[in-house]
């Protein structure tokens, strides 16, 4: 939408300038962690971008080889810490495939509800960081305010605010307390009003529109080619959501839409996350209505031992496709190899494609809308 005058009215610039190099990060307020972006710049315009990873590489996949399966669930918290509870589920589903255990209905409802709460929490952080990176510090606080309420609920249920370590093969670690459903319900009612304010605050704001519409366009083909997933992929017009394409848990029994936008620019990536918050609220309300009052919340406890084989699971976290690939070479409680496919890595890989020809300020906007979490990239 950023309109320029027709060609005849444009001033043709003929300057002889020198390109220079800027090092953005690893200590930079808007690289969302220890990520280093090497920029080749022509004035304020970015010519080329090379991301450098690995500043907080902890060797999680290597560590997993000397850990038991249960310990790796705790490790998955530390990958994408904004969607810790969703990562737990990704690992657990792979283990369940190996152990061949099912989950009782109540257990599935607990899972789905916590998943969606986690999704809302992550998208609220996105809302905050998007506004904050654009220069509106107030948005940052707004987003985090409601996220804290979700974390309060998570703390009551799982015992921890961020590193939940909650799901176990066959169900979860605890049953939900009695206060859980009323609390979620009250929170949803609160969030409804808060989101109205927040959208009013940012969604139609002319400066936000100017900053994000038509910026960082990722075409449908590129999005698929780079392996993007989640909101980034859906903002580029590809209707792919693991919850719909390859349903896990009870997502096939729930009624929800998959928002898809077609421009693939920063504004669409913002809108799609706001739309997903509303969809998650819809799912949560359905779950509250259907929540089974009685019944087991986990199947019979078994030692976590996987037979020889290869097990794969994929789930849709707030950031995108989170897949876990477990190779069990011997029957036992330790894996031969666990590989995690995180959603943020391909997004950063596609960054160079998106920023070329944009200004350095746009890079900040694009980074914010990709919503990467660096510990998940480095692992």
């Amino acid at each position: 939408m950023s309109a320029t005058l027709p060609p005849g009215f444009r001033i043709q610039r003929e300057t002889n300038t020198e390109e220079f190099f800027i090092n953005m990060g690893p200590q930079h307020p808007s690289t969302h962690g220890a990520l280093r972006l090497a920029l080749r710049m022509d004035g304020e315009t970015i010519v080329e971008l090379v991301p450098h990873f690995g500043y907080i590489h902890r060797g999680m996949e290597k560590q997993a080889e000397s850990m038991s399966y249960l310990q790796y669930i705790a490790m998955s918290d530390r990958q994408d810490y904004l969607t810790a509870i969703q990562n737990n589920l990704g690992v657990v589903i792979a283990l369940e495939k190996g152990m061949n255990v099912g989950v009782p209905e109540k257990g599935e409802y607990i899972r789905v509800m916590l998943q969606e709460l986690g999704r809302i929490a992550s998208h609220l952080v996105f809302y905050g960081c998007f506004g904050g990176d654009l220069g509106g510090q107030t948005c940052l606080l707004f987003g985090f305010k409601e996220r804290e309420m979700i974390h309060d609920i998570l703390e009551e249920v799982t015992g921890s605010r961020l590193t939940t370590n909650f799901f176990r093969p066959g169900g979860s670690r605890y049953d939900v307390p009695d206060t859980f459903l009323p609390r979620v319900k009250a929170f949803l009612d609160h969030l409804e009003g808060a989101m109205r304010d927040y959208e009013r605050f940012l969604s139609k704001n002319i400066i936000v529109l100017e900053r994000s519409v038509g910026i960082g366009i990722l075409s449908k083909e590129d999005a698929i080619a780079y392996g993007c997933s989640g909101p980034v992929l859906r903002a580029s017009g590809v209707e792919f959501d693991v919850r719909r394409a390859n349903p896990y848990s009870i997502y096939d029994q729930l009624d929800f839409d998959i928002p898809v936008f077609h421009n693939g620019d920063c504004y669409d990536r913002y809108k799609i996350r706001i739309a997903e918050i509303h969809e998650s609220m819809k799912i949560l309300r359905q779950c509250i209505d259907k929540f089974p009052k009685e019944g087991a919340w986990r199947s019979k406890e078994k030692p976590v031992r996987l037979p020889v084989g290869r097990y794969y699971s994929e789930i849709e976290t707030a950031k995108g496709l989170y897949a876990t690939y477990v190779v069990a070479a011997t029957t036992g409680e330790k894996p031969y190899r666990i590989h995690t496919r995180g959603p943020s890595f391909p997004h950063i890989a596609a960054l160079n494609k998106m920023v070329q020809g944009h200004k350095i300020s746009d890079l900040v906007t694009i980074m914010a809308t990709l919503d990467p979490v660096i510990p998940e990239i480095d692992r």
Partner: protein, 157 residues
């Protein structure tokens, strides 16, 4: 991104933005004014002042503690399940022998500095001998205090 449009389109768009732009800014201002004028919506708390009223949730994972009765007896059998369950070797169970020659708990060493409060040890314990306490003020200036011996007495065996 640049797109080619005619001059008329350009001015139409310009005029439209002149009207919608200020209106959107006023919308934004109204929200911040609303929050400014409603002090009851403040969510932050005054931490050390409200310490007395703070209650952590039952399941909160603060610090590992041993369940002991009034006399200081515990349920630990020094089986070492917790030690094996711990992902980062924060627990050392050092067994000893009692007078009858049976293996009992000598010292239960807990390295709080390396603990990630995942709670797997509590889950692994078959006797309910350890719990995660809701202590949340666990910061310290004394590094040596992070090496703890949790049991007061030898185990029952």
């Amino acid at each position: 991104m640049q797109e080619n449009i005619t001059l008329v389109q350009y001015f139409k768009r310009y005029l439209k933005r002149c009207i919608t732009g200020p209106w959107s800014l006023i919308c934004g201002l109204s929200v911040s004014l609303k929050y400014f004028l409603s002090p009851w919506k403040i969510v932050t708390e005054q931490y050390p002042e409200n310490k007395k009223t703070l209650r952590m949730h039952e399941r909160y994972r603060g610090r590992l503690e041993m369940v002991e009765d009034e006399e200081g007896n515990n349920h630990c059998t020094a089986c070492g399940m917790c030690e094996r369950a711990c992902p980062n070797a924060s627990i050392n169970v050092l067994p000893t022998k009692n007078i009858a020659g049976k293996k009992v708990l000598g010292r239960y060493v807990y390295h709080f500095a390396s603990c990630t409060q995942c709670g797997l040890c509590v889950e692994a314990c078959p006797f309910g001998a350890i719990v995660m306490s809701p202590a949340f003020e666990v910061a310290t200036t004394e590094p040596s205090s992070l090496e703890m011996i949790l049991n007061k007495k030898e185990g029952q065996g």
